[in-house]
């Protein structure tokens, strides 16, 4: 059954000061699933269902409670929305008001007493009615705030483009010879999907109305694009896989963007100040996560008498209070920036997706010893054997590096624990020469060409590992361990028997590990600078792969030649910028 994808969120609206001081009020979400899309967006039912269910999962958070809308209500909306001219807020708002608002109002009405009771503040529990009269009677203000705090979300697709392209690549045998052409299809899906948020309001005559609040976009700029290749003759379903990836990435962004909407942003107050941090009146009940960042804000009265909010700094959660069972349990957050905090200051969530991009400059240890085997040292078939001299030792290479860090602290219950994957490229200049064969027209070796200097070469690695950080104020000590795959390549160009280019390559691949330590300094909650050093553990090796590649992309390979002694073990130095990504791309 087609279901309408509408997330109904009941939000307890409170004044900003009050909400800051008294903590976040949990929201009620009621959802059905129908994706609003203009007719020009050609999505299949299966695609729409996937979008609806994935987006629903992305806003499934502790800060919300959930309750479904009745099926007939959903059907009515689905029928009306299907006939809507567009998927815009202006068009959908009256449809929601007619079809869904009464249903949500009914749900809120049934649950308002229970929801209000959950939201009673300490002062509310000390009034006459609560104490001496021992009445659970809730005030009209509290009940009305529940009824006036329903939120709907409508998933919409603003743009969807599927492109299909054909391509081919060469398949080589073990000897490196191209043996056949493999044709494949590339499926590309570009998607702009988001959520339209609306609020239910109820006047004193209990008449519901709906107003547009915000849009949580799953994309930025052009849409989220993902592509996958499928070789002809295989059934890997790359088309669906690419679509799913695009939707999943969009859903992560939508969830994060929804948290940024003012009504849904976690906000609370500082109840206590400790030596290195603060305690806040938020916890597991609201879905606070380990290492979540919060602005510390203060109300300041201006000369004109207006009250404005000023940011004092930010803190990061280190220990989450379980206020689901114990109202007095508070969450501890470490002070990162800002000083002289005191009880009564407010805290406001800084939603992040938990993925950092780290990039910078590195000096990596690559020691290539001198070598002299004009030989030819590297034996290849077809008279392609060649030699090499290295006249000066290479000590290091300098180049950029980049990595992505993903926060796993919540899953592992260890603060500031990250998994990361990255790569680096280092360039170095090598003194020495290639000794390439000179071939006649019949392919016989007639001499040696020593005109090719080795010159600029590159080395690089890819790594995967864990990062643990320890913070004191804005300064973080970074400890990292990795598994590494390192490759160094030396290249020269000669000529084959027909005078066409023949590329000679010497490559070394090694696996190893490293440990790294460094210091990061927070500039903002999203940005920090770092510097560090690492020590690599690699076996020394003289084993290289020699290869000659012709213009038809045929390779002549010898995987086990003895080349220059190369060591990657040693100290590397890094400078980097760490940026918390606002969204996935």
């Amino acid at each position: 059954m087609r279901r309408l994808c509408i997330v109904v969120v009941a939000v307890i609206l409170t004044a900003s000061n009050l909400s800051a001081q008294t903590g976040y009020k949990k929201k009620v979400v009621s959802f059905v699933d129908v994706v609003a899309a203009p007719a020009s967006v050609g999505l299949s039912d299966r695609q729409k269902e996937y979008i609806a269910s994935t987006v629903a999962k992305s806003v499934r958070m502790e800060r919300f409670n959930y309750a479904p809308l009745p099926a007939p209500v959903i059907r009515t909306y689905a029928d009306e929305a299907a006939n809507a001219a567009s998927a815009s807020a202006e068009v959908l708002r009256p449809v929601i008001e007619r079809t869904l608002a009464p249903g949500l109002l009914g749900i809120l009405d049934i649950n308002k007493e229970m929801l209000s009771t959950q939201n009673l503040s300490e002062a509310d529990r000390n009034t006459f009615l609560a104490t001496k009269a021992q009445s659970a009677g809730l005030s009209a203000v509290q009940l009305e705030s529940i009824l006036n705090s329903g939120f709907f979300y409508v998933p919409f697709v603003d743009r969807y483009r599927r492109t299909v392209a054909r391509g081919e690549r060469e398949i080589k045998n073990d000897e490196g010879k191209v043996v056949r052409i493999q044709r494949y299809t590339t499926y590309d899906h570009e998607l702009k999907v988001g959520l339209l948020w609306f609020q239910l309001t109820v006047d004193r005559s209990n008449t519901p109305s709906v107003r547009y609040i915000a849009t949580a976009r799953g994309w930025s700029g052009s849409g989220v694009s993902r592509s996958e290749d499928q070789d002809d003759g295989t059934d890997t379903n790359a088309d669906w896989s690419a679509f799913v990836q695009a939707v999943n990435v969009s859903a992560v962004n939508i969830g994060n963007e929804s948290k940024k909407i003012e009504q849904f942003r976690l906000a609370g107050g500082i109840t206590e100040v400790t030596t290195f941090g603060v305690k806040m009146n938020l916890g597991r009940r609201e879905g606070v996560g380990l290492d979540d960042a919060y602005w510390v804000e203060e109300d300041v009265e201006t000369e004109a008498g207006d009250i404005v909010k000023e940011r004092r700094g930010f803190v990061k959660v280190r220990d989450i209070g379980d206020n689901r069972t114990d109202e007095s349990a508070f969450t501890y957050a470490q002070t990162i920036t800002g000083t002289d905090y005191s009880p009564g200051l407010s805290v406001s969530e800084i939603p992040m997706i938990g993925v950092n991009a780290v990039f910078g400059l590195a000096s990596v240890p690559v020691r290539i010893s001198t070598f002299d085997d004009r030989g030819p040292a590297f034996s290849l078939d077809d008279n392609f054997s060649f030699g090499l001299t290295v006249t000066e030792e290479v000590k290091n290479a300098i180049g950029p590096f980049a990595m992505f860090q993903a926060h796993i602290g919540n899953a592992a219950k260890v603060s500031e624990l990250w998994v990361h994957a990255g790569a680096a490229v280092g360039f170095f200049s090598m003194e020495g020469k290639f000794y390439l064969p000179r071939l006649n027209s019949s392919g016989a070796r007639i001499g040696t060409d020593s005109s090719n200097d080795i010159g600029a070469s590159w080395t690089g690695y890819a790594n995967l590992g864990l990062v643990k950080k320890f913070y004191f104020r804005r300064f973080g000590l970074v400890l990292q361990v990795d598994l590494k795959y390192w490759r160094t390549t030396l290249t020269a160009t000669g000529e084959d028997k027909r005078g066409n280019d023949l590329t000679y390559t010497l490559t070394q691949d090694l696996f190893g590990a490293d440990v790294k330590t460094g210091l990061e300094v927070y500039l903002t909650p999203m940005l920090s600078l770092g510097a560090g050093a690492e020590y690599n553990f690699f076996p020394a090796s003289t084993s290289w792969e020699a290869k000659a590649t012709d213009t038809d992309n045929n390779d002549t390979v010898n995987s086990d030649v003895v080349g220059p002694d190369t060591r990657y073990s040693g100290l590397g130095v890094y400078l980097w910028v760490n940026y918390a990504l606002p969204r996935l791309f």
Partner: protein, 423 residues
């Protein structure tokens, strides 16, 4: 120049000393009367502690919190919108000055706070960043404060003043249309019954004597025919109060408004309480109390509204009683000329009545002198004449001396009303 600096310094020091323990902010609002003894106050406090590197925030917040506590207590002592203060008259304020530093000391203030919220309602940096202002809710023990002030003779304890005569007798009756019997309304209306019950409970807690409605009904029925009070025939509350001899009667109206929030009925009760001096039907105090608009049962809301109103009304009653008793026990004395007397004789009787009362009472006030009725208010200070019967005997004796041709006959005799026949 030096002299100017010295004068300014002295002035500042004097001002600071005068401020002493008193709160700086003094901003507070009355929220509700939680119980008869405690009131819920929302108060603001201001504090600022400077250090070498600027404002010391945590200490400033603590100071502001303490200032808020003091402001809450200050509000209860001096009163404000919705709450009468404990210290009202100029004399009481004058007596309070030597005691106020002690009352507002940090240790003392804490003893008057029954509860305070854990969180601030607001926290704002003010004065260009030099101070912090916080707002919090407190339950202040009004009765404890009152005890503190009476112990130090700032205000008089009602019981002390009324040592011989006791606290006033009160009666609470619902306000009804002219000619209708409030006791009948009380029987049929639950909200009125609840209000009556709360008022009686509140008053008896404070050791007032309260006449219950069923008692009043019986006495009124017995004395109805004998009550000869002109001008108030249709005001049955007045007549009933007079018949039972209450010093003060309290009339009240109860309104409970209902509306729907969703499918839930929410109600708001408002209770208007007016207190009258029985002898004269003079209004002594009036206040309207409101409850929160809530889904609570109507009875609970009525109780909340009554509590909010009574706090102020009873305070005013106490003040009235203290003032009135300085003149003595007050009576309404009505001479009803029942015998056959000509016009000259009536003048003589009126004259004799005036002379009699002048001799017996410390203070008199003539209300009505009509053909057959002479109506006076008299304040009796003589300790020998503190009971109605003793007073009647003295009246009879003195009247006989003033006008031997007539005698006084007892018609109605209670602690408030003496109706005598002249024949």
């Amino acid at each position: 120049m030096m002299r100017t600096i010295l004068i300014l310094s002295l002035f500042t020091l004097t001002a600071a000393y005068a401020q002493g323990n008193l709160p700086e902010s003094r901003q507070a609002t009355f929220v509700e009367a939680v119980t008869g003894d405690e009131v819920l106050i929302k108060a603001k406090g201001v504090g600022g502690v400077s250090g070498m590197f600027g404002l010391k925030e945590e200490e400033s917040v603590k100071l502001a919190e303490q200032d808020a506590r003091k402001s809450a207590v200050y509000f209860v002592v001096y009163g404000g919108a919705g709450l009468d203060g404990l210290v009202r008259s100029d004399e009481e304020k004058r007596k309070f000055v030597p005691v106020e530093q002690e009352l507002f000391s940090d240790g003392n203030v804490a003893s008057f706070i029954a509860w305070e919220a854990n969180t601030f309602d607001s926290r704002v940096k003010v004065a260009g960043g030099g101070k912090i202002r916080v707002e919090k809710q407190f339950r202040v023990r009004r009765s404890a404060l009152q005890q503190f002030l009476t112990d130090r003779r700032v205000i008089e304890r009602l019981e002390d003043v009324t040592d011989e005569l006791g606290l006033p007798t009160l009666m609470a009756l619902p306000e009804v249309k002219p000619g209708r019997n409030p006791l009948d309304e009380l029987r049929s209306d639950n909200a009125l019954k609840q209000a009556a019950s709360v008022i009686e409970s509140y008053l008896t807690q404070r050791k007032y004597n309260v006449v219950a409605p069923d008692q009043a009904q019986r006495i009124y029925e017995q004395q109805k025919a004998q009550l000869s009070v002109k001008g108030h025939e249709e005001d049955l509350s007045y007549m009933i109060a007079l018949s039972v001899g209450s010093d003060i009667y309290v009339s009240y109206t109860v309104t409970v408004d209902t509306r729907k929030v969703g499918t839930t009925d929410v109600r708001k009760a408002s209770v208007s309480v007016r207190a009258f001096e029985t002898t004269t039907a003079r209004m002594l105090g009036a206040e309207t109390g409101y409850s929160e608009e809530s889904a609570a049962p109507a009875n609970a809301l009525v109780e909340a509204a009554v509590a909010n109103a009574l706090n102020n009304v009873v305070a005013r009653l106490g003040a009235y009683w203290q003032d009135d008793l300085k003149n003595g026990a007050q009576y309404k004395i009505v001479f009803s000329i029942t015998g056959a007397f000509d016009e000259d004789a009536r003048y003589d009787i009126a004259d004799a009545a005036a002379k009699t009362l002048k001799k017996i009472a410390a203070k008199t006030k003539e209300n009505v002198v009509a053909d057959n009725t002479i109506d006076y208010l008299a304040w009796i200070q003589d300790k020998e004449l503190q009971s109605p019967s003793a007073l009647f005997r003295e009246l009879r004796r003195e009247f006989s001396n003033a006008y031997p041709k007539a005698k006084l006959k007892q018609i109605t005799l209670n602690r408030k009303l003496i109706v005598v026949g002249v024949e």
